[in-house]
Amino acid sequence: MYHLSVLLWLPAAFAVLGLLVPSRTTRWVAVVGALLTLALSVVLVLDFEATGPALQHVTDATWISALGVRYELALTGLNMWLALLATVGFAFSIVWAAMTPLGVDRRAKHVFFHLGIAQSAVLGALLAQDLILFVAFFDLMLIPFFFLTAQFGNGDRVPATIKMIVYTLVGSLLMLVAAIAVGVLATPPGAEVSYNIQEIAQRGVPEGSQGWLFACFAAAFLVKMPQFPIHGWLADGYKAMPLPVLAVFSGVLSKVAVYGFLQIAIPLLPQGTADLRWVVLIIAVVSILYASTVALTTFNARMVLAYSSVAQLGFITLGVMSLRPDGAAGALLQSVNHGVAVFGAFLAVAILGHRTGSEDLRDMGGAATKAPVFAVLFVVVTYAVLAMPGTANFVGEFLILRGTWEGSAPALAIVASIGVALAAVYALRLFIRSSHNRVGPVIQPREGARWELALLAVPVLLIIALAVHPQQTVEAADQAATRSVLSAAAAVSPDRARDILADDPSAQAAAEAAQSAAGGTGAAGGAGGAGAAGGADASGAAGAETAIDPATGQPVDQTAQTEGAGR
C-alpha cells in the first residue's frame, strides 16, 4: 500500500529542503527530489490494478469539517497516466533548469522551490477526489509560475505574467463559485454538504442549474488550455516564460484542464454538458483552425509550438466532448502524447535558440548538417507533433476523430481533419526552417551539448515507447473514460448510452491499439470477452429506464456491474 500523500507532498518537501541547503547544492536536491517522485509515480502506476476498483490507494481524511471539505486522494484510470506525465514533465524540467544558467543563478533556490510547489499542486489537482480540494490545487498551481515568470522571465515579464494569471483566474474563480454551488445544490435537505465527487454524482445536481455551472467549469478549463477566443494571455505568457518552465507549463498544466472536463464537468453535470457541448465543440474546432493558421505564419519558433498546442488541445477537447468512450480515451492518450512531444519540442527550440541567439525561424537553418544527432532527435519529436502514422499521436488523433464522427457530427470530424493536415505543414516548416537550408549568418555551427542531447533523448525514447505500446495507456483509461462520459451521453440521448454499453469500448480500443502495434493480444482478447459479456448484460438490463437516468448516476453503477460480471 503506497500512500498517495507521499507522492503528493514529496516535491513540496524537497522544495523546502532546497531552501535549507547551501545555494550550490539546491539544484541537486531538486533533481533528486524530482527523480524520487518520478520513481514513486512509476511504482504507483505499475501497481495499479486495471481490473480493481475505480478508486485505488484511497486517502481520506477530514480537512475542514465545518465546510464538509475532505482531504481525499485516489488513483484512477483517469488520472494515473496524467500523474505520470506530470512527474515526468517536472523531472524533465527540473533537470533541464539545473543544467542551464537558471540552476546556478543567485536566486536558483527560488527556481526549484517554485517548481517543487508547482509539482505538488499539479499532482494534488490530479489526485484530488474532493471538489474543493481540486479547485484549491487547480488555483494554487498557477501561482508558482507567476513567481517563476516574474523573476526569471524575458522581456516585459511582469505585465505579461499578471495578464496570464488574471486571465486564467477568471475561469478558476468562477469555477470556485460553481464548485461550491454544485456541492450545495446537490445536497438533499437535511443532509450534510459533501464535495466528494462521486457522492455528488450520486446525489445529482438539479438539472435547471446545470447549464451555468457547466459554463463556469468550462470557462476555467478552456482558458487554461487555452482555446480560441480566450487565449489572449498565450502569446505574452509564452514569450515571457523561461523555456524549462514553459515546457512543463505547456506540457502538463493544460492537461489538468482536460482532466477537469473528464473528472468533474462531464460526470457531475451531464445535463449541462448535453446542453452546451456544441458551444464547446465549435470552440474546439475554431481553435484548431485558427491556431494551426497562426502556427503556419508566425516566425517565432516558440509561438509555433504555443499555437500548435492550442490546436492539439482543440483536438483533445473534441475527443472529450464527443461523449464517446473512444473519443475520451483518445483524448487522454493524446494528452500524454502531446505532453511528451512538447517537452522535446521546447528543448529543441532552446537548443536552436542557443545556436542562433534568437528564436526567429528566419535566422535559423542548417542544423541537419552541422548538428546531425540533434536533427535526428528533433525529427522524431517533429513526427510526434504532426501525428505521423506509427506514433501514438496518430492513434490518439484517430480515436478522437472517430469518436467525433460517431458522437458529434461527421462534418466536425471532417473540418477537424483539416487541422491534421495543417499540423503536418507547420511542424515540418519548423523542422525545415531550422534544420535544412543554409546555415544562418549568426549561427554557431556546432552540435548541441552532450547533456542537451541526452535530455532530448528522453522524450524521444518516450515517444517511441508510446508508439510501440499505446494500448497500455488506452486500456487503463478506457473504463474510466466510459464511466465519466456515460451519464452525459445518456443526457444527450438514451440510445447513445445504450450504444456505448452495447459495443464495449475496451474491445474497440484494444483493436485500434493492435492495429498500430503488435502485442498485448492476450489482454485485448480478455477485454473483448469482457465486452461481449458486458454487452449482453447491458442489453438484458436495457429495458430498465433507470439505467439511463442521468440524475441518479445509475449508468455508472451499471457499467461497473457489467464489467465486474464480464471478468
Partner: protein, 533 residues
C-alpha cells in the same frame, strides 16, 4: 412601591463578564500614568510593554468568559462568543499596532503615554461596540472608539498630511456618527424600544416591516455604519486617512475598526433588524457589490501602498458584508472568520509597509522594490499577505472566501458570490503587482537610501518636535510641502516589526492549511444569533 424599589436597586453587575472591557480601561489609566515618568526607559519601553500586557490580559479574560452566556449591565452589553471573539480580534490588532509603534515617530511626538492610552481607550470602545445590544450602548461604544482614533490619526505632528487626515477623519466620522444616531432615533421612534431583542420583537409583533419610519431609520443606520466600515460609496475618506495617518495607527484603524464595525453590523442587522431583512438585505447586497467593485478598481491605480491597502480594505469590507446580507448562521460564521483572517493578513502587510517606510522614508511602490533581496523575511510576509488577501489557496484568505461564497450560495445569493469572485480577479492585478515588485525588481539604488538616511532626524526629546511642528501647523503656508520630509527615528529597534511580520505571515499559511481549529471556534458565534437558521 415594588416598582420603585426595583428601579432604585443598583443593577447587578457581573464583574467577571465585564472584566475584559475593564482590563482595557485600567490599562489605559496605568499607561497614561507611567507615561508621565521622566525616565526614558519608562516612556519608551515600559509603556508599550504595559499596553501589550493590557491587550493580552483582555484577550485572556475574553477567552476565560468564552462559555458564558447572557447579558451585562441590565442588558446593555451582551456576553456571548460573538462579543468575546470581537474582543480577541481587537486585542490582537491592538498588540500588532503597539508592536508597530515601537520606534515609530508618532508616539514620540504625541508622547508615549497618551498615544498608547488612546489606543487602549479606542480598543475599549470597540469592545463595547461589539458587545452592545442596546442602541445607546452601541452609540456610546462607537463614539468611544472613534474619538481616540481621530486624535491618533493626527499624532505625527510634524507632518501636515497626518494633521489633515485627522481632521478629515473627524469630520467624516462625525457625519457618520450623526447619521447613525439619527437612524437610531427613528428606529426608537418606530418601535419604542432601545433594546435589540425588544426591537426584534416589536418588528415581529407590530408589523413594522413596511413602516416608513422604521425603514428610514434602517437606511440611515446602514449609511452610518457603512461610513465606519468604509463600505463604498461611503468610503471616500478611507484612502486619504489611511495614507495620512501614521502607519501603526493606519494598521490599527484598518484591522481593529473593521472587526468592531463588522461585528456591530452582524449584531444590529442579524439580531435586532432581522425581521426587516426583506428590505435591507437587497440594499446591503448592492452596497456590498459596489464596495467590491469600487474598492478593487480604485486600488488598481494606486502607487502608495497605504492607499492601496485602503482601497483593498474597502473591497474586503464588501466581501465581509456578504455574510451579513445572507442572514444565516453560516453567514455570521463566515463573516467572523473572514474578519479574523483579514486582521492577520492586514497586520502582516502593514508591518512590512511600516518597516519599508522607515527605511526609505516613503510608502510608494518603490519602497518595497527588491525587498526580496534586502529583507527576505519581510518580503515573504508581504507576499503571503498579498496572496492571502487575493484569496490564493493554501492561505487563510482562500478558506475565508470559500466560507463566504458557500454561505452566499447556500442562501440564494449566488450572484453576489459571482460579483465577489469578479472583484477578486481584479484584485489579483494589484496584489500581484506588489508581489512582482518585491521579488522581481532591483532594490532602489543605494544612493537613494543613503539620501533618505541623511535626512534622518534623531527625535530624542519629545518636547523638541511639537514645538517645531506646532509652528508648521499654525502657519502652513510658510513651509509649502517642506514639512513632509521623512522624519525617522534613528535607533529604532527593528526586531518587533520583523517578529510581527513573521508571526502573522506564518499564521496566514498555517491557518490556510489547518483551518479546523479556528473554524471550530468561530462555529460558536452561532450561539449569539439564535434567531437565524
Amino acid at each position: 412601591m415594588i416598582a420603585l424599589t426595583a428601579a432604585a436597586q443598583a443593577p447587578d453587575i457581573d464583574w467577571a463578564g465585564l472584566s475584559s472591557l475593564l482590563a482595557l480601561f485600567a490599562g489605559a489609566v496605568v499607561v497614561l500614568l507611567v507615561g508621565l515618568l521622566r525616565s526614558r526607559f519608562a516612556r519608551e519601553t515600559l509603556v508599550p510593554v504595559l499596553s501589550i500586557v493590557a491587550f493580552a490580559v483582555s484577550i485572556g479574560l475574553a477567552i476565560w468568559q468564552w462559555d458564558e452566556e447572557g447579558s451585562l449591565m441590565s442588558g446593555a452589553l451582551a456576553l456571548d462568543p460573538l462579543a468575546m471573539i470581537g474582543v480577541v480580534g481587537v486585542g490582537v490588532a491592538g498588540i500588532a499596532a503597539v508592536l508597530l509603534s515601537i520606534g515609530a515617530t508618532a508616539p514620540r511626538e504625541a508622547a508615549h503615554g497618551e498615544y498608547h492610552a488612546m489606543m487602549l481607550i479606542a480598543a475599549a470602545g470597540m469592545a463595547m461596540f461589539v458587545g452592545a445590544q442596546n442602541l445607546i450602548t452601541t452609540f456610546l461604544g462607537l463614539e468611544l472608539l472613534s474619538i481616540p482614533l481621530y486624535i491618533l490619526a493626527a499624532t505625527e505632528l510634524h507632518r501636515r498630511r497626518s494633521l489633515e487626515s485627522g481632521m478629515k477623519y473627524l469630520i467624516v466620522g462625525s457625519v457618520g456618527s450623526a447619521t447613525l444616531l439619527y437612524g437610531f432615533a427613528l428606529i426608537f421612534g418606530a418601535t419604542g424600544q432601545l433594546d435589540y431583542a425588544g426591537i426584534a420583537a416589536a418588528v415581529g409583533t407590530e408589523g413594522l416591516r413596511d413602516d416608513p419610519l422604521m425603514l428610514a431609520g434602517v437606511a440611515l443606520v446602514i449609511v452610518g455604519l457603512a461610513f465606519k466600515a468604509s463600505v463604498a460609496p461611503f468610503h471616500q475618506w478611507t484612502p486619504d486617512v489611511y495614507e495620512g495617518a501614521p502607519t501603526p495607527v493606519t494598521a490599527f484603524m484598518a484591522t481593529a475598526t473593521k472587526v468592531a464595525a463588522l461585528i456591530a453590523f452582524l449584531r444590529l442587522f442579524d439580531v435586532a433588524l432581522v425581521g426587516t431583512s426583506g428590505t435591507w438585505a437587497p440594499a446591503l447586497a448592492v452596497l456590498a457589490a459596489i464596495a467590491m467593485i469600487v474598492g478593487n478598481v480604485g486600488a488598481l491605480g494606486q502607487s502608495s501602498l497605504k492607499r492601496l491597502m485602503a482601497f483593498s480594505s474597502v473591497a474586503q469590507a464588501g466581501y465581509m458584508l456578504v455574510g451579513v446580507v445572507v442572514a444565516t448562521q453560516l453567514g455570521v460564521q463566515a463573516t467572523v472568520f473572514y474578519v479574523l483572517a483579514y486582521v492577520v493578513m492586514t497586520v502582516a502587510a502593514f508591518a512590512v509597509i511600516e518597516a519599508a517606510e522607515r527605511e526609505t522614508g516613503h510608502d510608494g511602490a518603490s519602497s518595497i522594490a527588491g525587498l526580496g533581496r534586502r529583507r527576505p523575511l519581510h518580503a515573504i510576509a508581504l507576499t503571503l499577505s498579498m496572496l492571502g488577501l487575493a484569496g490564493v489557496p493554501a492561505t487563510v484568505g482562500f478558506i475565508a472566501k470559500l466560507r463566504i461564497v458557500q454561505s452566499a450560495a447556500d442562501n440564494g445569493y449566488t450572484w453576489l458570490a459571482i460579483v465577489l469572485v469578479v472583484g477578486s480577479m481584479i484584485s489579483f492585478v494589484y496584489y500581484l503587482r506588489v508581489v512582482a515588485r518585491v521579488w522581481g525588481d532591483d532594490p532602489e539604488t543605494t544612493t537613494d537610501v543613503a539620501a533618505t538616511r541623511g535626512q534622518t532626524v534623531a527625535v530624542e526629546e519629545p518636547e523638541a518636535i511639537p514645538a517645531r511642528a506646532g509652528d508648521a501647523a499654525s502657519v502652513p503656508g510658510l513651509v509649502p510641502g517642506g514639512n513632509d520630509q521623512p522624519v525617522v527615528v534613528a535607533d529604532a529597534p527593528r526586531l518587533p516589526i520583523t517578529v510581527l511580520a513573521v508571526v502573522s505571515g506564518a499564521a496566514i499559511v498555517v491557518l490556510g492549511v489547518i483551518p479546523g481549529p479556528l473554524m471550530n471556534v468561530v462555529e460558536d458565534v452561532a450561539r449569539a444569533v439564535p434567531g437565524l437558521f
